[in-house]
């Protein structure tokens, strides 16, 4: 399939003002501001086909929002070229805006003081949505996102979860071909996150809407996006599927065994003991694709196995492995507790 979104050697440099200490410094930076270039995005190339769902992942400050802003036409790349539906988003901002839907989790597109339905109505007029299509979409989306109970309430009275559902519903009112979401699940509770994720993957499946979303919540990607693009410090680290990511960044599956009696020394070919005491033993497995049955057959222990668990590495672990191998210790990627070593 032809690419509907592409980035070629895209970079974005911001000039950040460096503030200088003291009154003299303030005066000096007023007269001749000192700026420092920040490479928010550097030399990124990818292309996305119609109907894909892609997760754009990276730690704070990796340049995710900046990339979304360039793709939605509100920032120009400093170097390189982005193309969305055959257009340069910034040069043809209005035409581009008509064909895409955008949700910025940190910012609202809704009219704060007006009832939600007013924002939808305004959206209809701004995007020139035909009446029949609008009423169909409005009914379907309100139903799926359960908006009906608060659709006549002013937006500022809505809870964050309600607002985000409304936000996403509105972004889809004009049947956009592509939906961009910058941290759509930020601040939502488990239930709300689940609703949003199910909804997005359904929209992607049923309407064929291409989805690109940035997130810190790796579960978003596991549930919505078969493909993920990982960036850090503006650079592309990885582009591919989740299993491929696990493979290339070498995070191991973890096997936990519980024995009915003291197992003594336990040996398992192709696996490295990684802890456990008493009746419990843990192993990190080589990436050889052996099944659980094959693993148990290869087990050498002096006691019977009572219980066994096989942990697929979460993306967090994958990413942590990557950072550790890089020798830098980044801030934890999510709020979840670290996995014991």
């Amino acid at each position: 399939m032809a690419a509907i979104i592409s980035a070629e050697g895209v970079g974005k440099v911001f000039q950040q003002r460096v503030s200088q200490p003291g009154i003299l410094g303030a005066i000096r930076s007023f007269v001749a501001p000192v700026t420092r270039p920040v490479h928010a995005v550097a030399d990124i190339t990818f292309s996305i086909a119609a109907g894909e769902a892609v997760g754009y992942l990276g730690p704070n400050g990796a340049g995710k929002s900046t990339m979304i802003k360039m793709l939605t036409g509100i920032l120009t790349p400093s170097v390189g070229e982005v193309t969305v539906l055959g257009r340069k988003p910034q040069q043809e901002r209005v035409a581009n805006a008509r064909d895409i839907g955008v949700v910025f989790g940190q910012r609202t597109q809704l009219w704060w003081d007006l009832p939600l339905s007013d924002s939808f109505e305004l959206h209809r007029r701004l995007y020139r949505v035909p009446d029949a299509l609008f009423s169909k979409n409005r009914a379907a989306l309100s139903d799926m996102m359960e908006l009906t109970s608060f659709i006549e309430r002013p937006v500022r009275h809505l809870s964050l979860g309600q607002r985000m559902r409304a936000e996403i519903a509105m972004a889809l009112m004009h049947d956009p071909k592509i939906l961009f979401l910058d941290e759509p699940t930020i601040g939502l509770d488990v239930v709300a996150k689940d609703v949003v994720r199910k909804f997005l993957s359904r929209i992607n499946r049923e309407r064929g809407t291409t989805i690109i979303l940035t997130t810190h919540d790796l579960q978003d990607i596991e549930e919505i996006c078969p493909r993920l693009i990982m960036v850090d410090e503006g650079r592309l680290l990885f582009d591919g599927t989740l299993p491929a990511l696990r493979k290339s960044f070498g995070a191991r599956r973890r096997l936990t065994l519980e024995f009915s009696g003291d197992p003594g020394e336990v040996r398992l070919v192709g696996a490295r003991p990684s802890g456990g005491e008493g009746l419990l033993r843990e192993f990190l497995l080589e990436d050889d694709g052996r099944s659980l049955v094959q693993l148990l057959a290869a087990l050498e222990a002096s006691s019977d196995v009572r219980d066994v668990r096989l942990h697929e590495p979460s993306i967090e672990e994958v990413i942590r492995t990557h950072y550790q191998s890089k020798g830098s210790a980044p801030a934890p990627v999510t709020g979840r507790p670290a996995v014991p070593a």
């Binding site: 911001f14 929002s65 979304i68 802003k69 939605t72 036409g73 509100i74 920032l75 120009t76 910034q90 901002r93 209005v94 035409a95 805006a97 008509r98 955008v102 910025f104 940190q106 910012r107 609202t108 597109q109 009219w111 704060w112 003081d113 007006l114 007013d118 109505e121 305004l122 007029r125 701004l126 995007y127 020139r128 002013p154 910058d182």
Partner: protein
């Protein structure tokens, strides 16, 4: 067009949600107008007319010039634009499929209409009941005044947008805001009618577009000029509107390349 009207109406209704502010703003405007009228009473000191302008005419000038035709809104618009740019809220507008200056214009128009209806009109009615309100010089003058009123509000908005857009280059628009506020207060004739200006300054002020904000509309209202002059100057005013609109479009297209959307 439908989108434009929808935006006007949305921002009008948004204002209606700030009803609690309304009373305070009416009171504030009343006090300001009261002060202006007292000043003119003091200046006139019992004389019937100064330079051919009666005290009754001066009161209407202060009343309408300080409400419907005030240049004060320009400051608010510049502040709004500056805030949108500094906070990055401009990003939300840029995601919509419409021209940014058009959207700004529509939103500001909605706010202005609301203010006229719920602040200016009550103030004019209250003060008119106290001091009496001189009617327009004639029916044609009145009709022309409505045209001037439209030109006035558009010139205020375009001037403010022009200054506000400079926030893209000068990141702190406050300095611009103060500069513009002083400039408009004087050159619009809002503080003192231009007919009281010293000769040379009056000539310059009359020619600049800012005098279409308060001075020319009031002069027409009061019948200071014949109908031919009034129509001719209405057309000149429209010319200024076109010129300022063009300037806004040009500055905006240059600013576009400069856009740095903050945050997120």
């Amino acid at each position: 067009m439908s989108a434009f009207l929808a935006l006007v109406s949305a921002s009008f209704r948004r204002e209606a949600h700030h009803r609690s502010q309304m009373m305070m703003r009416i009171v504030g405007t009343l006090i300001e107008i009261l002060a202006r009228i007292s000043i003119w009473h003091a200046v006139y000191a019992g004389r019937g007319a100064v330079d051919g302008i009666s005290i009754g005419q001066m009161i209407v000038y202060a009343l309408i010039g300080g409400t419907l035709l005030s240049s004060w809104d320009a400051t608010m618009i510049v502040r709004d634009i500056g805030t949108t740019i500094r906070t990055g809220a401009i990003g939300s507008s840029l995601l919509r499929p419409a021209s940014y200056p058009m959207m700004l214009m529509a939103e500001q128009l909605g706010t202005r209409l609301f203010d006229w209806l719920f602040i200016s009109v009550p103030v004019i009615v209250i003060m008119g009941l106290i001091y009496g309100l001189q009617p327009p010089a004639s029916l044609p003058h009145c009709l022309l005044f409505i045209g001037y009123l439209a030109v006035s509000v558009v010139i205020v908005m375009l001037t403010a947008m022009l200054v506000g857009l400079f926030s893209f280059w000068v990141f702190d628009a406050h300095s611009l805001e103060w500069f513009m506020r002083g400039l408009l207060a004087v050159l619009s004739g809002g503080l003192v009618p231009i007919w009281f200006f010293p000769g040379g300054l009056a000539e310059v002020a009359r020619a600049l577009p800012f005098s279409w904000i308060t001075y020319h509309p009031m002069a027409v209202y009061l019948g200071q000029h014949d109908l031919f002059w009034s129509v001719q100057h209405l057309l000149i005013g429209l010319g200024w509107v076109a010129a300022l609109a063009l300037a806004v479009v040009v500055v905006w297209s240059r600013a576009c390349r400069q856009v740095v959307v903050q945050g997120g």
